[in-house]
Amino acid sequence: MKNEFQVIADLIEKDKKVLDVGCADGTLMKFLKNNKNINIRGLEISKERVQECIAKGLTVIEGNAEKDLKQFPDKSFDYVILSQTLQAFLNPELVLDELLRVGKKAIVTIPNFGYWKVRFHLLFKGTMPITKTLPDEWYNTPNLHMCTIKDFFHFVKSKDIKIFKSLALNNLNSSIINQSNLGVKNLFADLGIFLIEK
């Protein structure tokens, strides 16, 4: 399992009710269900991935976060997870609002466009950056709204969203992000993981 998922799982207490938005093949869901006794639901747009989740015995709804989150009542989950997908929505702000309406807390992870390898790629090669977390070409990437850890940090602050914990992930190491080390983390982290609440 990806290190990112381990970090996410560590943020969630046992026996909670959790919605994984864009749950893909259900790897994280299955881990949470088996190891933390989480009452877990998934929302996934791809029919193939939905079938994979069903084959794992997971409760998943085929749907689109931009349209289908609205059917869930306010604060109906303890946590809502959105892993590396926020940048792919037409309207990320609306999705973020929906996550925080449906979940008491949300865990959002973002691929960091401020990561030094990304900056170097663009600076020296002069082409759109391709890294482990950003593997696609400019013409076939699902990502519409790339941002940096710093961008996201400022964005949630400006929306009066409370940040409980923000973590920078680089390979196997995770570390706390705060106001004072934001610049450094923004340079050296591949991924940002935010536990937030509205």
């Binding site: 079938q51 069903i54 015995g57 997971l58 749907g63 059917q71 869930f72 009542p73 109906s76």
Partner: protein, 375 residues
């Protein structure tokens, strides 16, 4: 039509109050079972059939000598695995495969015809509920069915919220739409316009409204298929001829196909039953039973739901299935949903659609494993 010898029936002695206000008692519910009930009695699945289905799910139907209507899904090692599960299916009341219906005789030994009480989906499931007592089953493992079978699934879990652990409505709706009612009315009008219908008394008049019933079936059959599916299968291909004949014979293969579907249908189905069952579907509006709030229908159940729709089903489209998902999510119910890609229209649930069959199998088998593990 019915060869009684091959039909198992449960006689329901206690009175059943119908939605129309009348009561029936000492009436037959015809059923069939597949697989065997285990000692814990926790492996039973109740399947509800659609408009023209019956209790004979799989293998050779002993009355029609044709394959059972859900042979692709039910059987040893199939999606609904009869090596594992005890599968029960019964003919709906109002039907014509042994359960109490308009071809039965009234207490004065006269064939009911249109004097049979108008029945509803609610009446159907209340009648079938008696099978649980009959088999000594406290709680079913699952209930499932497509189309009108799905409506019965929804009504059953609403009426008996703690009587099934899992619930699988397929290609269905919680409320019959104007379009659904319109197509059913077309079928009913075709039957009643046949001069052999005789106000429903065709048996005593020794006539048969076969032409009307065949037209009803032909019209309905079109609604079960998709435009793409029809085009790919038939296109404008001609029926055993080189060129158009400039007449009204079946020049096109699609015409011949529909005529055939109509003609084989009248051999196995009763015209009055067709009127009664389509009426029951039209009257179905589960939300209305709960003052317009569909979620209320499910608020007392802890069952695990799995809802399945098909991309090319325009009779019970994905959105109508999703409305059920939305109603369940709004009360925090345990609900999964998948829309299966298929060109085969509403009929997809009856056909060899591998993605559908594997989803159904995986859901059932994983749920059964989990329930047993939790114990």
């Amino acid at each position: 039509m019915n060869t009684e010898k091959n039909i198992k029936t449960l006689i329901v002695k206690k009175p059943l109050k119908l939605d129309c206000g009348k009561s029936i008692k000492n009436f037959p519910v015809a059923y069939e079972t597949y697989g065997s009930l285990n000692s814990k009695k926790d492996n039973a699945i109740l399947v509800f059939h659609a408009l023209t289905g019956d209790q004979f799910l799989t293998g050779i139907n002993p009355v029609t000598n044709k394959e059972g209507w859900w042979s692709y899904a039910v059987g040893p090692d199939k999606a609904i695995d009869t090596n594992k599960y005890f599968v029960i299916c019964s003919n709906v009341i109002g039907g014509c495969m042994g359960s109490y219906g308009p071809s039965h005789k009234d207490p004065d030994q006269k064939i009911f015809g249109t004097n049979f009480p108008v029945i509803t989906i609610n009446d159907m499931v209340n009648a079938q509920y008696n099978l649980l007592d009959h088999f000594g089953i406290d709680k079913l493992f699952s209930i499932t069915g497509g189309s009108m079978g799905g409506m019965q699934v929804l009504q059953f879990i609403s009426n008996f919220p703690d009587k099934s652990k899992t619930v699988i409505p397929i290609a269905t709706t919680s409320s019959h739409s104007a379009q659904n009612i319109a197509f059913n009315e077309l079928g009913r009008q075709a039957i009643t316009a046949d001069s052999n219908w005789k106000d429903g008394n065709y048996t005593s008049n020794d006539t048969n409204p076969g032409k009307g019933l065949a037209v009803a079936r032909m019209a309905a059959h079109i609604t079960y298929l998709s435009k793409k599916g029809l085009q790919e299968k038939f296109g404008r291909k001609l029926q055993e001829r080189e060129d158009l004949k400039f007449g009204f014979d079946a020049d096109f293969q699609i015409e011949s196909y529909l005529r055939y579907q109509g003609s084989v249908f009248v051999d196995r189905f009763d015209a009055n039953s067709y009127l009664y069952i389509t009426r029951a579907m039209d009257y179905f509006d589960l939300a209305k039973q709960f003052n317009g709030n569909l979620s209320e229908a499910f608020k007392n159940t802890n069952a695990k739901f799995f809802i399945i729709s098909f991309t090319s089903d325009w009779l019970y489209p994905t959105q109508e299935n999703k409305d059920i998902v939305i109603a369940l999510n709004s009360i925090g119910a345990d609900v999964g949903f998948v829309e299966i890609e298929s060109d085969k229209g509403h009929d997809s649930f009856l056909l060899d659609v591998p993605d559908f069959l594997s989803a159904l199998k995986n859901f059932l088998d994983k749920s059964y494993e989990e329930i047993n593990y939790e114990k």
